[in-house]
């Protein structure tokens, strides 16, 4: 995690130093700082960075796929003359426990097909999710656990 932040900070410094605040310069700066950090990886003991970077990108790809699918599903549902709804709120037991992981998971859940996070319990162990089709809550829970939650754990731990 600190390596991501370091890379980003270095990239911003790179943009400031070169004086050209364009996107490709930022990306170039990010690539450059990642390369520099890779060179000193032994000293920084962050060898897992490359694997985690790949997993982070795979999380991003999954997210865009799910977002497109979810917008399409909403479109089909809304345009259907006879709307068949079985909405409901189910409790999802959280495995991730850090604040930013819960936030990320809640956001991803909201942007994926048929689910919307409503609230998190006081002890931060349960997420309450509203589903537009709640007839099989167990299947939805399984999808979240094996999809986003696992990928978040892979990318940030």
């Amino acid at each position: 995690m600190t390596t991501y932040i370091l890379s980003l900070v270095f990239a911003v410094i790179w943009v400031a130093v070169t004086g050209s605040a364009t996107l490709h310069n930022l990306i170039f700066g990010f690539a450059l700082s990642t390369l520099s950090l890779w060179i000193v990886r032994e000293q920084m003991s962050a060898r897992g960075y490359w694997q985690r970077m790949g997993r982070f990108l795979s999380l991003l790809a999954l997210f865009f796929k799910e977002l497109a699918l979810s917008a399409w599903k909403v479109a089909v549902l809304v345009m259907n003359p006879r709307m068949e709804l079985k909405p409901g709120i189910f409790a999802y037991p959280l495995t991730v426990d850090r604040d930013f992981e819960i936030t990320l998971l809640a956001n991803l859940i909201t942007l994926t097909p048929g689910t919307l996070s409503v609230d998190v319990s006081q002890d931060r162990r349960t997420l309450f999710v509203h589903a537009i089709d709640c007839s099989d809550a167990e299947a939805v829970k399984r999808d979240i656990a094996t999809g986003f939650e696992r990928k978040i754990m892979e990318a940030f731990r």
Partner: protein, 112 residues
């Protein structure tokens, strides 16, 4: 040749984006309660505005516009779920009922 392709792609992105924005608006009026309406607003709305921002970036064809359009899309993805989530949470806290077809409400069970 490439100009025609870019113009076609831009037009397609705008049309599809506007279509999703329309679907979001129709969903807001057709869906029965605030929770299901948030589904339409957060998903179809985000994708609709995202596609149109992408069309702007493609049409302008320079990098600073692309950067700003991508930043706009990024912030949209960041903020739309949060506002949907806050509205749904506030509605539930105020005791706004789920639609009568709803099959379960475990948040209600948890609170009581």
């Amino acid at each position: 040749m490439i100009e025609v392709l870019i113009a076609l792609l831009t037009a397609l992105l705008i049309l599809v984006g506007a279509g999703f924005a329309l679907v979001a608006a129709v969903g807001l009026t057709r869906l029965p309660d605030v929770y299901t309406r948030m589904h339409a607003a957060s998903k179809a709305g985000t994708v609709g505005s995202g596609l149109m921002l992408l069309a702007v970036a493609l049409h302008a064809g320079d990098l600073s516009t692309l950067a700003r359009a991508l930043a706009g899309f990024f912030f949209f993805v960041l903020t739309a779920p949060i506002s949907a989530h806050l509205l749904a949470m506030a509605a539930h806290k105020m005791g706004y009922p789920l639609h009568e077809k709803s099959v379960r409400d475990e948040l209600n069970d948890y609170r009581n």
